[in-house]
Symmetry: C2
DNA sequence: CGTAAGTTTGAAACTAATCAACTGTTGTGG
DNA sequence: CCACAACAGTTGATTAGTTTCAAACTTACG
C-alpha cells in the first residue's frame, strides 16, 4: 500500500471516496454536484452492485427501499398490464439516476438489458443526505423536471405520431444520447431488442421491422452488425421525428 | 378597519397572508406545507390572476418566468405538432401546481377551459423561497414524483390500451379526482370538450363519442346535461381501465 | 328563435395488428 | 469445429380497430 502514489492523508481521511474517483459515470451523475464531504457520506451508504443482462433491479410492487445510479450498461423501465401487455417507459444509460419517481413502493419494473453496474442507495439514507444537501436537492428536482419533459414528449409520440415518425424520433433521440456519451455520431448501437423498441414506441415488432426496412429502402439508415444502425440522413430523420 | 374582528397584531404583522386564509385551495395546494412566515413571503411575491375560459396562461416557447397555483377552475396542458396535431398532457384543477417541469422556457401550452383563478409566482422569487424552505422543496419533489408516476401510467394508456379502455381509465380517474375534491361520487362533470378528451386519450372525437355510446348501451354510464356523465357501474369501468 | 359550435352516427378507407412462414444469429454441447 | 436448438428479426397475407369523410343532430347562446 505504501507504494501507491496517492497522498497518504487522503487515503486516511476518506478511503470510501476512492471508488468514486475512478468512476466513469462521475461527471454525468447526480453525485457530480456533491462537495467532497457529502460525496463521502453518499459513498458510505451505497453499495456497488452488478447485474447480468436480463436481471431485475426491482419489480412493480417491490418496496421502494433502494435507489440506483447507473454507472455502466443499459437498463429498461417498463410497466406490465395484468394480461401481459407491456409498455417500456424508458431506457437508462451511464449517469442516469433511477429513483426520482420512487415512492414507498416501486410502480414499474427495472431490468438490465446489458450487464449493468450501479450504485445502490438505501432510500432512507439517501433522503437523509438530501436534507443536508441543497445541491443534491436542486439536482434531483432539475432531473425530475427533465424526466417530466421527456415523458411529455413521449406522450405526443404515443398519442399522435405515426409508426415511422415514432421510429425516427427514437433513432434521433438515441443517436443524440450516444453522441452526448461520447460515441461516434450518426451511429446507433441499439442494445435493446426489437421487442423492447416496439413496447417503447407503442407498436409491434413487425411494424418496427417494417419501418426500419422502409428507412433503409429510402436510404435514411443502413443496418450494421449486432443490430446497430448508421443514420445516413439524420436531418431527414429529425424532420420526420418533429413533424 | 377598526371594526374588523381579526386580532389587531395579526393585521399589522402579516396583512398579506389574509387572502390565503380565505383561499379554497389552501388545504390542497403546495402552500399548505409552509409555516406562517414562509407563506407570507410567498404571498408577498405572488399575484392573484383570473383567466376567462379559453384564455392562455402561457404558450410553448414563452419564457418560463411564471409559475401558477390553480385555486379555481380547470386548465388543460397540451403540446402542438407543427402540422397542428395536438396532444393534451393533462388537466389541472383546484390545488394543482403548474411549474414543476418548467425550465427557462415553457415547453407546452396551458389554457383555461373554464374561468380560472390562479396564484402567479415569478420563477426567480419562487426559487429563492425554495432555497430557504425545505418543506416546500420536499413538497415539490413529491409532486414531481407524483406527476412522473401519472405520466408513466398515461404512457401505458397511450401505448397499449384500446379506445374503450382509455375512456374507462379517464372516467374512473376523473371521478376519483372529483370525489377527492368533495364532489358527488359517481358523477363526472367533464368541463372539457370531446376534442380535449380525444387529444388527451390519443383518439379522435368520433372514437370517444362511440365509446361513450357503447358504455351507455352497456349500462355502464348515463349521459346527463352539460356533458356530465353518471358512472352507473364504476367497478366495471375500473376493471376495464386496469386490464 | 336562429345560428354556431359541439356531438353523435354512418360508411368507407387506412394504418397497424395479427397470424404465419421464413431467415438469420447466437450460443451450446457433442 | 460443426450441428443444432433457441431466439431474434424480417417478410407476406389477412384482419381488426381506429381514422377519415360526410351528414344529421343537439346544445349553448346572443
Amino acid at each position: 500500500m505504501s507504494d501507491i502514489a496517492a497522498p497518504v492523508e487522503r487515503v486516511l481521511d476518506d478511503p470510501c471516496v476512492e471508488p468514486c474517483d475512478a468512476c466513469a459515470a462521475r461527471g454525468v451523475s447526480i453525485c457530480r454536484v456533491l462537495p467532497h464531504r457529502q460525496l463521502r457520506r453518499l459513498a458510505d451508504c451505497m453499495v456497488e452492485q452488478e447485474f447480468a443482462a436480463g436481471a431485475t433491479l426491482f419489480g412493480d410492487g417491490d418496496p421502494g427501499g433502494a435507489l440506483f445510479n447507473i454507472t455502466d450498461g443499459v437498463v429498461k423501465l417498463f410497466k406490465l398490464m395484468p394480461d401481459g401487455r407491456r409498455q417500456v417507459i424508458g431506457f437508462l444509460f451511464r449517469g442516469d439516476f433511477l429513483g426520482v419517481s420512487v415512492g414507498d413502493h416501486h410502480t414499474l419494473w427495472a431490468e438490465a438489458i446489458t450487464p449493468v453496474r450501479a450504485c445502490r442507495f438505501p432510500r432512507a439514507a439517501f433522503y437523509n443526505l438530501l436534507r443536508d444537501s441543497p445541491e443534491l436537492y436542486e439536482e434531483l428536482l432539475s432531473r425530475a423536471a427533465d424526466e417530466l419533459r421527456v415523458a411529455q414528449a413521449q406522450m405526443v409520440l404515443l398519442g399522435r405520431k405515426t409508426a415511422q415518425e415514432r421510429l425516427a424520433t427514437f433513432l434521433v433521440d438515441m443517436a443524440d444520447r450516444e453522441r452526448r456519451r461520447g460515441a461516434v455520431p450518426g451511429l446507433v448501437t441499439l442494445p435493446m431488442t426489437r421487442s423492447d423498441i416496439a413496447d417503447y414506441l407503442g407498436l409491434t415488432i413487425e411494424t418496427v421491422s417494417r419501418a426500419v426496412t422502409a428507412f433503409e429502402t429510402a436510404g435514411f439508415v443502413r443496418r450494421l452488425d449486432r443490430g446497430a444502425l448508421a443514420l445516413l440522413q439524420p436531418d431527414v430523420l429529425a424532420r420526420l421525428a418533429r413533424i
